[in-house]
């Protein structure tokens, strides 16, 4: 009998390859064929994770067809096993995997659409925290403001696509999918916000999106404003900040130079 670590390595390899044959000398089921019994575990791994992925990507399945998504999922679960015990966290890498799938050649927006759907699902289980009000920033002096890093609600995600993938998702969610729909290439800058089962996708201007996305990624307000000015010289950071506070988006503010939580 090899050491347990070696036994488990071999079982892991069999699970991912979907072939219990190499385990024949290790396993035992009395007079029964033990490799066929092991196949119950192999099947469970494959079938349960494919079901997880199909359940997480219903809109992508609607777009591409269940046969295509199931075939991609079957390859994905053999190539990319979960890396955490919470299966709800499994599938973040599936949109990128789909982007390499042959069907992606005829659906140019497949990967960003699947990625939007992934985040839509994750945000639906988020919970809003108490938001900061305008007084939070008013209490800072102007010099400190540019070095202040804001924390946004946990149920927030920013993405950009060259196609109106938000419209496509809205069609799916409305349950009124037409037989055909024309999708013209058009850049969109999206802000997704979710809390307690409710998810909204807002289109932003490129300037607002760049500013908010930089803040979301932990950049100080000054850096975020400079990035926004690069894409929109008319961008008004004061108005943008006021809008974010008004939308209860900001839950924390720390001025880096002083390291104080305001």
């Amino acid at each position: 009998m090899p050491p347990l670590a070696e036994v488990q390595r071999r079982v892991r390899d069999a699970m991912l390859a979907g072939d219990a044959g190499p385990l024949a000398s290790l396993i035992d089921a009395g007079p029964r064929d033990a490799t066929r019994r092991m196949a119950i575990h192999l099947r469970h791994y494959r079938v349960s994770l494919i079901a997880v992925l199909m359940g997480r990507f219903p809109a992508t399945t609607w777009l591409l067809g269940s046969a295509q998504v199931e075939a991609a999922a079957a390859q994905f679960v053999g190539a990319v096993p979960p890396d955490a015990p919470c299966v709800a966290e499994y599938g973040a890498a599936f949109p990128a995997f789909l982007g390499t799938w042959p069907a992606a050649e005829r659906v140019a927006y497949l990967e960003p659409f699947a990625d939007l759907e992934w985040h839509f699902g994750r945000l639906s289980v988020a919970v809003d925290a108490p938001a900061k009000d305008a007084g939070t920033l008013a209490a800072l002096n102007a010099d400190d403001l540019v070095d202040t890093v804001l924390t946004l609600q946990g149920g927030t995600h920013y993405c950009h696509a060259s196609w109106p993938i938000d419209e496509l998702l809205a069609i799916f969610l409305s349950n009124t999918a037409p037989e055909q729909t024309m999708l013209a290439e058009q850049p969109v800058w999206l802000e997704c916000r979710g809390t307690r089962g409710d998810v909204r996708i807002n289109r932003l201007t490129e300037g607002d999106w760049t500013f908010r996305q930089a803040i979301w990624r932990g950049r100080p307000i000054g850096v975020a404003a400079e990035r926004a000015w690069l894409v929109d010289p008319e961008f008004d950071p004061g108005a943008a900040l006021a809008a974010m506070l008004g939308q209860a988006l900001v839950i924390g503010a720390v001025t880096r130079t002083k390291g104080t939580d305001s």
Binding site: M1, P2, P3, L4, A5, V7, Q8, R9, V11, R12, M15, S25, L26, I27, D28, A29, G30, P31, R32, D33, A34, R36, R37, M38, A39, I40, H41, H44, Y45, S48, L49, P81, P82, D83, A84, P85, C86, V87, A88, E89, S124, V125, A126, V127, G154, T195, R196, G197
Partner: protein, 291 residues
């Protein structure tokens, strides 16, 4: 095991995500709920609802992801997340499986069987201690559902569990359906298995449904697959009666994880369990009185 926590004298039901909003809204007549923390750790909204329920119901936490049988060790990141979770929920019971599911950072989404050897016993005992220390609570270990064993096993599952209890001080969660299923699949006597377990260490009983399939491993025969997708089968109710007579009443849970029916169906199954418990306890008392 000196006594059952008072709050758990009625049978509980496994609470899955499709039922949680209904449970919060209707406050059903459940004795208690058991949850899988892995369903909640990535779901802040469900955790918020669970916290609300935990103010009115005893909650048991039954992890499917701690993998105490993994040779490469317990996932410490997961253990830390679990610690924060159990501190919020303050469960009355905490349990895990005699199984493994992780291998060097990969999670295989199944409760995989272990060879029963001295090496495995040392590894599982060490991990049980680590989990108990990490979570600051006593851990119950559940007997697995099995379709196969290992050629290199040097002890039976019952011997292994007895040694584990003695060595680690943990208690046992006896899944009666798993006993029936494994006994059928591997050809041993389920009652004899139950009779071999250390009665004083049994802290909880589980009952779940299964699916009977044609056995590819033995043409013409059937294999029982642990799907938790059906009502409790008649032979399991009978075995449960034997378990109660042998161990005495224990906190008992109805598990249903796939093709999940209405919550009322689970509550009805829990009432049946309460009935069987009452009848089997009475029988045991009658036997004791005549001895």
């Amino acid at each position: 095991m000196s006594s059952i926590p008072r709050a758990l004298t009625r049978s509980g039901v496994g609470l899955r995500l499709p039922h949680i909003e209904e449970a919060v809204a209707t406050r059903p007549a459940a004795g208690w709920f058991e949850i899988h923390p892995e369903n909640f750790l990535a779901n802040p909204y469900a955790t918020e609802l669970l916290e609300e329920l935990a103010r009115s119901y005893p909650i048991s936490v039954h992890t499917v992801g701690l993998s105490v049988g993994s040779a490469h060790g317990v996932d410490r990141v997961h253990l830390q997340r679990m610690r924060r979770f159990v501190d919020r929920i303050d469960p009355v019971l905490l349990s895990a499986h005699l199984a493994w599911s992780t291998h060097q950072g990969e999670y295989l989404n199944d409760l995989l069987p272990l060879p029963y050897t001295a090496e495995t016993l040392a590894i599982v005992s060490r991990h049980v201690a680590e989990v108990q220390d990490g979570l600051g609570r006593a851990l119950l270990i559940e007997n697995p559902s099995r379709y196969l064993g290992f050629t290199g096993s040097t002890m039976t599952e019952v011997q292994f569990l007895n040694e584990l209890v003695q060595g680690s001080g943990c208690q046992l969660l006896c899944d009666v359906s798993n006993v029936h299923l494994s006994a059928h699949n591997l050809g041993y006597d389920a009652r004899h298995y139950l009779d071999g377990l250390p009665a004083a260490a049994i802290g909880e009983l589980h009952l779940g449904g299964f699916t009977v399939e044609a056995d590819d491993a033995a043409p013409g025969h059937e294999v029982i697959v642990d799907t938790h997708a059906a009502p409790i089968a008649a032979p399991v109710w009978e075995l449960y009666g034997h378990a109660v007579a042998r161990f005495g009443p224990r906190p008992t849970l109805i598990e249903w994880d796939n093709d999940i029916p209405a919550l009322a169906t689970l509550l009805n199954e829990a009432m049946v369990a309460d009935d069987v418990t009452r009848r089997s306890s009475r029988l045991e008392q009658d036997h004791a009185a005549t001895r």
